[in-house]
Amino acid sequence: MHEETVYDALDSAHGGEGQWAFGTGFDEPLAGVDTTVPDGIDPADLGEYCLMLGDDALVLAQRLTEWMTAARELEEEVAFGNTALDLLGQARLLLARAGSVGVLGRSRERATPSIPDEDALAYFRDPDEFRCTALVAAPGGDFGQTMVRLLAASTLRLAVFTRLRDSRDPVLAAIAAKGVHELTYHRDHAARWVLRLGDGTPESHRRAQAGVDAVWPLLADVFSATDVERRLVAAGVAVDPAATRSEVTAVLTQVLGQATLRVPEWPADVPPRGRVGEHSPDLTALLATLQGLARQHPAATW
């Protein structure tokens, strides 16, 4: 009875024309939200920054989803699914924000008009148009490495989002304020697992350490700001990633220390790579999986 009502309602909400088959939802996630850009903020920069934060979430969600049907315990599979869903929700809001200020890259030329902006951005941009870091794009490795990467990525993102709550863009500030609660759960979950694995059996310790050693080189560009970020920091919109350095290193050092894991030397800073569209073939392979079906059937509805 209830389902009938739901599908009736959904159908009528879309004029009985069906819903695009690969989309994340039924309506634009910022429907009714005031998306006016405050004075003194360059909309192109704002949109580009939303792509950086949105792509990090979208790509990490995809990496975590690779554990579906592969996790060793049902509870952990559910945890991966929920974490990925939270990130996907953040990605949707951020990509919709980028779309609302007209930053769509070449996606609109490729996507059919009925596809919402956030879906066009997710499914119809090429790898060089993505703005995620290598930290989230790299393959996940085993469970230990997956948890070390999740710890590093969620610690960084939480440090950025707590500061972003004060952004001069009210939409970005609201997305960040919502996300802080979710990222806190993600970071603490990953930290507890790193603790358990590092301070567990010799085998779990060995593999967790191998995970740390594999993830650490990916941190070389996470504190480097792009020109877009620098301009937006000056405008009171963005967070300078370098401003999160002491908090992030303190959290990671604390967790690894308690987990009896060796903290590798922090890699020397390098200029931004993923944030300016320079990616390894790992992202191309990931996007082929993420986007393949939607691109083969760009007008499919259900």
């Binding site: 009736d8 909400a13 910022l30 945890a79 929920n82 939270d86 997305i175 930290a191």
Partner: protein, 153 residues
């Protein structure tokens, strides 16, 4: 109107429904998402439009409100009673909202919940994640039943 994933509570009892008013003959409904990835938002929106149309209101505008972020503290007493009666332990007080860095919690979860089956307080969290984004999984040490807990935020 109820949450499609928690059909035992209304959107008002859940704190998702923020405002309903008439502006120039248009019914304006404001709703706020619970968790960012909650897939029920689109369904809620469509349900609301459908219900208002059925009730005779032709012009309906359902708006999303992102700020302030939804908190479990907004769930009403009636909502909490209905959750517990439906086998879902209601949330405790939400963690304090600070403006600074969020402290790391490395120990076991300190969240507590009474078993909705037998009422025992002797329950343990088996996972911080469950069937939907907003719930954790617990087990009762008195009656051994597993149950879900709407987690605080």
């Amino acid at each position: 109107m109820t949450d499609p994933e928690l059909p035992l509570v209304t959107l008002a009892d859940l704190g998702v429904l923020r405002d309903v008013r008439v502006e120039d003959g248009v019914v304006v409904v404001e709703i706020t998402p619970t968790w960012s990835g909650c897939p029920a938002m689109g369904v809620m929106r469509a349900d609301l439009v459908h219900a208002l149309h059925r009730a005779g209101y032709a012009e309906v505008d359902v708006r999303t409100v992102l700020s302030p972020a939804w908190s479990t503290d907004w769930i009403t007493g009636e909502g909490r009673r209905r959750l517990a009666a439906g086998g879902i332990a209601p949330p405790g007080p939400a963690p304090a909202r600070s403006t600074g860095p969020v402290p790391l919690t490395l120990g076991p979860s300190r969240r507590t919940a009474e078993c909705p089956v037998c009422g025992s307080a002797d329950t343990v969290e088996t996972s911080a994640f469950s069937g939907t984004a907003c719930k954790a999984l617990r087990r009762c040490r008195s009656c051994a039943e597993p149950f879900e807990h709407l987690k605080e935020r």
